[in-house]
């Protein structure tokens, strides 16, 4: 008989989170150095020793065999290893795999870790999507990933009347959150007019509709609920996670306005026994301003096509009815190649009440959503504090 994923609900918890240095780390600082730095900080946050880690999860665009390479640098010889590579969503997916592995006895303390020196080592985008097979897209010179998101945005505007002003509101809301986060990379004032007037890259998306290119790393430590209760910080329980991908290439999407977040969200809510109404704070992977609009629709926070009006008037900004991307997001906090681990870190800190000026009141349930590829892979995690068990 097929077991229900609901059996995993609350069996594992996040007990340590940390960022490495962020922003511009400078030449000579290596991606593995950031992985090491984030790991040491996350262990301190959890009150665990490196020798406690027996499960390792990693993905990287900088090196092959991610867990093997990171494991050597960190001096970790794990008994469970998982380099699941679904782009920026990988690290949210690792939560699900870690919870399952811990419940199955395959490991007890899992480290999920990421680092990237994308800004300092190149100034450009290093993508994990490189392929050695024939492409039916690249001969037409799309600029990826932005053109995939621009095509999607064009369709969303065509079908639902979504406007560039509404897209710009997403960037402005992110900036207002970033202004409350000392670690955010971009903290200057930003208006809708600024976004509309910035340089057009792939119509209708401008430079300010795009996420940042920064350096940075992060680490997340997961263990069993029983062990979590013996550690320093209040456990943040993994209530349910859903993975979904329908295609890799944007030209293969059946409906550009509908992402696999429809499935990942439904699976996460089913596994967690929660619904959108239960969620107190939302961390969405905002590679471009269209992302939060799509994901708020696909995850069920508003109806399909209503995402544009939904984000108007600062609804998702500080003081708004629905706090979204409270760290400033990939648009203003930072985006080191893959952003997925940072939605998890911020969701954990909001549940713990550790986020200072940007802290949302009475957070018991947080949703962290990762996106990978060009709206290709979607992973949704519902996390909660002790009261949600």
């Amino acid at each position: 008989m097929r077991r229900s994923e609901r059996e995993l609900r609350g069996t594992a918890a996040i007990v340590g989170v940390a960022e490495s240095n962020l922003g511009i780390v400078g030449s000579g600082v290596d991606t593995l150095d950031l992985i090491g730095q984030a790991t040491v900080r996350a262990l301190a946050d959890a009150g665990l020793e490196k020798s406690d880690i027996d499960g390792l999860f990693c993905h990287s665009a900088f090196f092959n065999l991610p867990t093997v390479t990171a494991g050597e640098y960190l001096g970790i010889a794990p008994r469970y290893t998982d380099s699941t590579a679904t782009g920026g969503s990988s690290f949210v997916g690792h939560l699900r795999h870690a919870a399952a592995a811990i419940e199955a006895g395959l490991c007890e303390v899992a480290l999920i870790v990421y680092g990237s020196t994308q800004r300092s080592s190149s100034g450009g985008l290093i993508s994990s999507g490189g392929s050695l097979f024939k492409s039916y897209e690249t001969p037409f010179r799309p600029r990826m990933p932005i053109s995939a998101y621009a095509l999607t945005t064009s369709r969303h505007m065509h079908e639902f009347g979504t406007t560039r002003e509404q897209l710009a509101e997403v960037a402005v809301s992110a900036r207002r959150w970033a202004q409350l986060n000392p670690l955010a990379f971009m903290r200057g004032d930003l208006t809708v007019e600024d976004v509309l007037a910035s340089r057009m890259v792939s119509d209708p998306l401008t430079t300010l509709d795009c996420c940042l290119v920064t350096d940075g790393g992060g680490a997340v430590i997961v263990t069993s609920a029983a062990r979590a209760r013996t550690l320093r910080k209040p456990p943040v329980y993994i209530l349910g996670v859903g993975d979904a991908h329908w295609q890799m290439h944007i030209s293969q999407a059946e409906d550009l306005t509908r992402t696999a977040a429809v499935d990942s969200g439904a699976r996460a809510f089913d596994a967690s026994g929660m619904s959108p109404a239960d969620v107190d704070v939302i961390e969405l992977y905002d590679a471009f301003t269209i992302n939060p609009i799509l994901f708020l629709e696909d995850l069920g926070f508003c109806a399909k096509g209503e995402g544009g009006p939904f984000v108007e008037g600062g609804r998702t900004a500080p003081g708004g009815a629905l706090p979204v991307n409270t760290n400033g997001g990939g648009l203003s906090y930072g985006h080191p190649g893959m952003y997925g681990i940072f939605v998890v870190i911020e969701a954990v800190r909001q549940i713990r009440g550790e986020t200072g000026a940007r802290q949302v009141e009475n957070v018991h349930v947080a949703l962290a959503h990762g996106n990978g590829g060009t709206l290709s892979s979607q992973v949704t995690a519902v996390l909660g504090d002790e009261s949600t068990l």
Binding site: R143, L151, D203, S251, Q252, L256
Partner: protein, 136 residues
Amino acid sequence: MTTTTVDDLSPETAPGVVYDRYLAEGVLAYQRCADFDHVVFPPRVLCPTCGCGALQWHASAGAGAVYAVTTLHPRGGGDYNVSLVDLDEGFRMMTNVIGIDPADVRIGMRVRATIDTTADEPLPLFVRDDVTGDDR
């Protein structure tokens, strides 16, 4: 056109090779599966809908409509279009709509394929279809 099965796979029958060979002849080719007539694009050795391994090549009439659109604005100038076009046979592909100002390419615009067979890498580009040029 020919039908191939998975056991026919060779350097001569590989889906990408056959596709390029048709393009060099000025034909935009796509596949249909032998079992259910599912439309398959880009070319493969199996039908991604039903999983069967027998696929028949077909020539597209090259007529379709723009499904999604973007204009690229390189720093050095030279704006150009990238579109997703829905072919009337029921498949979608990325392409460039050429011959008009990129800013004038609209979702729903009828387009037809044009293939420069003298190019080093013949590509299926599209032009506005002035014969049936009604936007729909």
